[in-house]
Symmetry: C2
Subunit: 372 residues, 2 copies
């Protein structure tokens, strides 16, 4: 079980394989799956579809119309309050309605992806699993500390969990992608790809410097819209633009797949503890190795020397680009299919749910069930 | 019991007079009492002090330092997160910590004044009373509807409750003031006073028109800082300024008392369903009658023909100003001392608490209480 934590891996005997009744609580701001922006909603949609495909009973709670295979769908707002993202009121209205829905149901597990929802866990009969989708910055850290043992936390990487080993972690479940939607291409063109926001944390300027030093053209695709992104672009990217630099703009779902499949490598020179880098997984799914700095989830996602090259300093990136040329595209693809598929993600969550339920289901009669 | 609702008034026999153990949950954004802005925090501070003076045990939960007489004070943030007012994270961090504190205590009642706190009520052993401090706009209404019977609501006026009779109201408790801090002055000067924000809902332009038509100078004091206030001022106030109009700016605690005590009347021509108009109470405490439009809490706060004149249309305001000249300043003062003191407010809350606790304390002996 490479995508779950050590503690999940040592699950002694699996609980019976009976289907679980799961209340899946999504945020209310975007439809599921989202039409555009909405990273959490995209993960939730894939997870729901896989859980249902595996025979579980999933009641999805979200807002507006949905497009998943959920066994049951309950909406808390006719229209998702997207324009109120960041305001406190939609959070608490959603949570209050979730409480009503969960109370009426008969669930084994409540799996919550929202901000205010975990406050309900004290009053919920079924145990509450919470996926931590963002970085553990000081304020969220204090929140999850105060929630204490009322919830069971899932990290999306071990790196994300590292600053707070004291939190009630149930395990790590990496995000997954629908591998079949990413085109595999073993023969690569001679350019490096940067895919991501124009932001100092993503550091596309380091990507340009490294590709140039390696003598490889680079294509940069990503968002440059917010003030911090524009200021960074003017200061660090504009002065570096030359004939070996192509700016693509924002790549949609089709365009990004075309870029991934053709690129010789993905450059991922992040300068922060990013909890999970989905673009690494997407690139590898297309057979494209990753050249990255050793920060955040990078060492967990890339098999160093097999599906990419991970280095400690920007100075080492040009040589890493060279080294990545000889890596096997098939190995990259296989790694994602094995460890970062949506099936794998769903199995990781089911293992976590069962780990939580096992002692509850078998409290006093272990001898009777020894044959199970 | 004029400051509580009908249902509170019919409380059959008061519960035993034993002191109550109350968890008082304030918002985390300002100290209690607040140094400047913070209307809810000011009400909470007065309520806590009165409850403790009446012999109750009050655990106040807030943020930062406090200045109340609370039996016990527990802070959820060393420094109130004032700059994060309006963000969702401080709400949920505060609520998660409140849950821990309430769980450790042994309370008869939890009295919550926050946004996210009521989500905890399902898991709290003691019943949760929530004061509705704001107007029942659509979003809050939906929130309190979804909370349903898990909380017991207190309105700050019957007018505030009117749009939603279906909510689980426990009663109405008007806000109160510390009457002794307001100077009584029976002899009035010849000017009308407007005290409030420069906002179309507060309608100071109607106050100017009415005073001018009555031949009385007017002084306007209040905030004009936000864009909507400045735009309103330019459009409606600036063109009306003349030798009979004095602009005071923002009046602090001392200045507003000096204005109230001297004024012939307070003009309160509101154009919205304001849930509670504290300035009316403050003016009457100084012996100053109120001339107002019949909106929101006005008919509950002003004794029409005794402590002020309440009319239905702006056209009637000039005659009402004339009529108010002959009202008794002592009657105004007495009305506030009787019905809008902080003592009165605290007694209203204690009656509500006891109403809620009575059936819980005496569940199985209705026959004994048949004489009540």
């Amino acid at each position: 079980m490479p995508t779950t934590s050590t503690s999940t891996r040592v699950l002694p005997t699996p609980s019976p394989d009976r289907p679980l009744r799961i209340a899946m609580v999504a945020p209310p701001y975007f439809s599921i799956p989202p039409k555009g922006y909405g990273g959490i909603e995209a993960v939730v949609a894939d997870l729901v579809d896989e859980l249902v495909a595996d025979g579980h009973h999933v009641t999805l709670i979200g807002a507006g119309p949905h497009g998943t295979k959920a066994t049951e769908y309950v909406s808390t707002f006719d229209e998702p309050p997207s324009r109120k993202l960041g305001e406190p009121l939609p959070e608490v209205v959603h949570a209050a309605r979730v409480a009503q829905i969960v109370e009426r149901g008969n669930f084994d597990i409540v799996h919550d992806h929202t901000l205010a929802g975990p406050l309900l866990a004290r009053a919920t009969v079924a145990p509450t699993v919470v996926t931590m989708h963002g970085p553990l910055e000081p304020d969220p850290l204090e929140y999850y500390r105060a929630l204490g043992g009322t919830v069971h936390l899932i990290g999306i990487s071990d790196a994300q969990r590292r600053p707070a080993p004291d939190l009630p972690w149930l395990g790590t479940v990496h995000n997954g992608i629908r591998v079949e939607t990413f085109p595999f291409q073993p023969k690569k063109e001679n350019f490096a790809l940067f895919m991501g926001r124009f932001h100092p944390q993503k550091a596309p300027h380091l990507a340009i410097d490294a590709a140039r030093a390696a003598g490889m053209p680079i294509t940069l695709a990503g968002k440059c819209q917010e003030p911090v992104e524009k200021a960074y672009f003017e200061a660090e990217i504009a002065p570096r633009i030359g004939p070996d630099v192509s700016l693509f703009g924002v790549a949609d779902a089709v365009a990004k797949r075309q870029l991934y499949r053709r690129a010789a490598c993905l450059l991922f020179p992040i300068c922060w503890e990013e909890p999970f880098g989905l673009v690494m997984v997407e690139a590898m799914a297309c057979g494209t190795p990753v050249v990255a700095l050793r920060r955040g989830s990078v060492p967990e996602v890339v098999r160093d020397g097999v599906t990419g090259v991970v280095v400690d300093s920007p100075d080492e990136l040009p040589a890493a680009i060279e080294a990545a040329r000889v890596l096997s595209p098939q190995a990259c693809r296989d790694h994602v299919a094995t460890s970062f598929s949506t099936e794998r993600m769903a199995h990781g969550y089911v293992a976590a749910y069962r780990k939580l339920l096992a002692p509850m289901q078998e409290p006093a009669v272990p001898a009777v069930r020894s044959v199970a």
